[in-house]
Symmetry: C2
Subunit: 146 residues, 2 copies
DNA sequence: TTGTATGCAAATTGTTTGCATACCC
DNA sequence: GGGTATGCAAACAATTTGCATACAA
């Protein structure tokens, strides 16, 4: 399974940086990359509850922060709802449905060209890029029409 | 002055929608579009303090929410710092400096093509789009090198 | 005059922090 | 064995809410 390789790589990076490989960290990362939901910290905590009943929310928050620092995840912030996390390692667009809250990814080759142009025009040292389209997903459009 | 026209348009839209034209609302919108800073609610509140000493933060928050609903502003959310607001009415890229917190706009014609492609590929009903590049601005790059 | 926006204060909520304990190395 | 990550509870900070008052229409 592809996600296992990525968890394995995470494990190695932790070890090589002298950080501890704990079951909580591995489980959180695994959940993040296997979930299609762009989960919130709370969702991750709830989902892992059956397996790690004593795991605290603080551990989830700290691990997610670590993953973001390591470049293995990105944080999607919204003004009025909890942060969501994205473990997709490829540049992509996030489509955020304002009706149901779902977020889906879309790969788009134009993002590379866009980045080049932005770097050239701004002289920014770009560390990450983030693209969101907000609107109504096809499913919710149908639901409304019904 | 260009911003006066926009304030005037805001006034008319409020009136036509049966909403009240208050000096606070006009001042908040004027400050937002004249500021180059992509201000937070707190910055706006602080800046208008001398003119409206009794204005409450709640009024600023409510007005900003109203502006976002009316499509006159967009909210830039960050996980770890207050929301910032953007009154730029054109599609653009936001360049966010992780060193000094500054945000600058960059117009980029590619965004239109990107939107078209996204709509075609996803069948999303797109209401707004948001593009952020995070990194280090030229000024902070120089400061570091010094 | 009527009702909506304001201002104030309290409440809310997601997230962070401090510290003792557990457990990875 | 040594020290870092965890778990718990308390603290925090931005934002929202409820309600009485002020003021735009």
């Amino acid at each position: 399974m592809y996600s296992d390789e990525r968890v394995e790589a995470f494990r190695r990076r932790l070890a090589s940086q002298g950080q501890r490989v704990t079951p909580q960290r591995l489980a959180i990362y695994k959940y993040l990359i296997e979930a299609e939901t762009h989960p919130s910290a709370e969702e991750i905590h709830r989902a892992l509850q059956p397996i790690y009943p004593s795991m605290s929310p603080a551990t989830v928050y700290k691990t997610l922060e670590l993953l973001v620092e390591m470049g293995l995840a990105t944080e999607l912030a919204f003004g009025d709802s909890p942060n969501r996390y994205d473990g997709n390692p490829h540049e992509h667009v996030n489509l955020v449905c304002t009706e149901c809250g779902s977020i889906v990814d879309l790969e788009e080759s134009l993002l590379e060209e866009l980045r080049e142009r932005v770097v050239r025009a701004s002289r920014f040292l770009v560390r990450s890029q983030r693209h969101e389209f907000h609107g109504v997903c096809p499913r919710c459009q149908n639901a409304k029409g019904a």
